[in-house]
Subunit: 402 residues, 2 copies
């Protein structure tokens, strides 16, 4: 396949925007010149915006084409796609829209990131990718690697949920569940020894892959096409990559003169694991916290990254901390609207419910499918009697009358 | 919400096309005038094609808008949508395209049908819907009913897979697992006694809901937009509703002068449950068979319906019978292309692999996500040692060298 034209020019440090690097190789351990022993600063991608067709947004019609239609504003998409992106925006009540990211190839938002990071692996000639993950990120990386004919190694935590295990193996990934404390050192060692391209984080505070959040920008482009600029976007947040990507997409739309104002970016974290909230409170680029219990396993992290701070502060947004009870309530609300999500994915709507008086339509990003909840499969409805009197009483209990 | 304009005019019998019925109420037990004790004939929907905007197909650009953009050629869409349809067509090898229907709101093709059937329930003022299903159909009906504010009763078989149980309960459905032989009589009784609108079959040979396959037509419209008319379409088949819907969509495109030839329609059934193959072989409208063992649970049926015969014979297609080994091989092939599907969903590609020499591009419809396989969760990779020598030997075994 021919890689479509990209206007990407170089990599730029978030720690100091005057510090730049060539576009290749992709920075997978943040910015070495500005990072310290305590804080790692991420790197982002710059583009020659003045060389991009000014009608790109006018002609990239409807939902067709996935990420490829935005190729000029993304790093080179050298890995073949799976029709990622182009997810629907569903109005669940007047002015409240849900961006349903469970409609991606591996049923989560991570596919937008992995199209970009696996493309980097292809371009650099790596034999495959390695990812530290026990969930959506690993499965998505495995799918894109399979599609590109690359190997994928997933370094997982112990007690990998069995459904995720099936998911990862389906794509032919090498799955290595190891004790928690061994995950990051082992991932680093695999990168050093084998040349596999890392598509997850390698640093003390979160930086991840320089190209990853670029894929998430397309969520902003799609929201803009369907709705214009909303007043606010509510984003389930662990490291803040998704949050930053969506924010960056809207800043580009503003620079290109397509919108007047940025939506406020609301980072939605579980109270039990809210390092970004801690960083913003303390006015530091990133923070570490002790993680408590929450069922929202996809947005649990003991450490944040500087990207999240940038997105929240620049947009006039906020970090919201949510209890599992609040997440459960929003999860139920989404299901009653016909959207069965991961518990983590309901954090956006749960966050919205805590913020009064927003000036215009709002978007809650729902990241993934209900099939990925840990509780799936624990339900077991017993066979019931088909006698009419028995059925009738069950129907009556549910408010259905004969 | 305002229902968009529909050109639907009346219902017409497949048993005798001169027999018609008004559009309302929807026929949910086939055509009473032509059906016999042995064979039930389905009913389909007619449209005033000459009143439809001739530029409908030219202006319904890209993937945007789900089913709503085709509203003029569908029964009235009175139930709110969930962004169903608009699924991507992915080229897994030169000329072989997979239509990935796992990208629908409940992650299967059934959402296209249920948008139409739940709309019928809304229009007729029913308090809710009832569906006999232990899988995708039930979950989809439950989601659309929830979205429309209607109740949903799912009459399931015994030993409902636990993941499906979670899925159905998430949307607030009343789940009634009963012994197999009680499913159809109980469904009928619930319809008679409660006025719930049936969205699955009620007759001896399969007829289902008159409006259901109309939703599947949109798959043909989308394939046409992305690719034109393929040489053939391979469809996982149980009752033949999906097969018929896709065929009907292409016949409409031909009538409207948008394509010259119909794709050959290949019905792909498990050898263990191939009633349509039996009906075509014997030259009868529908057949009953004894079902053997197959893991492809979503396309297991002991009985076929006349719709399947129409689609296969009119298009010059064929019914293909596939062993579980053939299904597994195609399932593996899809996963290696980055598409993790239900085993049943791989029947399309498995069928293609048995047919040599097709004159042009072909489409295999993949109906649903790998998360719905019965085997999901049975995998359990043990925690491994993070010592480099141990990891190294695992990587070597997978062909990854240091």
């Amino acid at each position: 396949m021919t890689t479509q034209w990209s206007s990407a020019t170089l990599q730029r440090s978030l720690g100091d925007p005057t510090v730049t690097y060539p576009l290749w190789p992709p920075m997978t351990s943040g910015c070495p010149r500005t990072s310290t022993a305590e804080v790692s600063y991420p790197v982002e991608v710059d583009y020659a915006y003045d060389q991009v067709d000014p009608f790109l947004f006018a002609t990239a019609a409807g939902r067709g084409g996935g990420l490829d239609r935005w190729a000029p504003l993304l790093p080179p998409l050298a890995a073949p796609g799976l029709g990622e992106g182009g997810t629907p925006l569903i109005e669940i009540e007047a002015g409240v829209f849900v961006k349903d990211e469970s409609r991606n190839p591996t049923w989560s938002h991570k596919d937008r990131l992995n199209r970009c990071t696996v493309s980097a692996a292809v371009t650099t000639g790596a034999p495959g990718v390695v990812v530290a993950s026990s969930g959506n990120h690993g499965a998505s990386a495995a799918a894109y690697a399979a599609r590109a004919g690359l190997r994928c190694v997933v370094v997982a935590g112990p007690e990998l949920p069995p459904a995720v295990d099936s998911f990862l193996h389906a794509y032919g990934a090498v799955v290595l569940p190891v004790p928690w404390e061994a995950r990051w050192p082992l991932t680093r060692k695999i990168v050093e020894r084998t040349g596999l391209h890392p598509v997850s984080n390698l640093t003390t505070t979160h930086t991840g892959h320089a190209f990853g959040p670029e894929g998430y920008k397309t969520i902003a482009y799609e929201i803009h096409q369907d709705l214009g600029a909303p007043a606010a976007v509510f984003v389930p947040t662990a490291y803040g990559e998704l949050l930053f990507g969506v924010w960056k997409g809207f800043t580009e739309l503003r620079s290109l003169g397509l919108i007047d104002r940025l939506p406020r970016m609301y980072a939605c974290q579980p109270t039990a694991a809210a390092p970004l909230a801690e960083a913003v409170r303390r006015g530091v680029p990133a923070a570490h916290v002790t993680v408590g219990h929450t069922e929202a396993y996809s947005i649990v992290s003991p450490v944040s990254g500087y990207r999240g701070v940038v997105a929240v502060e620049d947009s006039g947004g906020q970090v919201l901390e949510l209890s599992d009870a609040q997440l459960e309530a929003a999860h139920g609300e989404l299901a009653r609207a016909g959207l069965w999500t991961e518990l983590s994915s309901a954090a956006g709507l749960a966050g919205l419910r805590t913020v009064p008086d927003l000036d215009g339509p709002v978007v809650c990003i729902s990241t993934s499918s209900g099939f990925k909840n840990r509780s799936v499969g624990s339900q077991s409805t017993k066979t019931v009697s088909p006698e009419w009197d028995d059925v009738r009483s069950r129907l009556h209990a549910a408010g259905i009358r004969d």
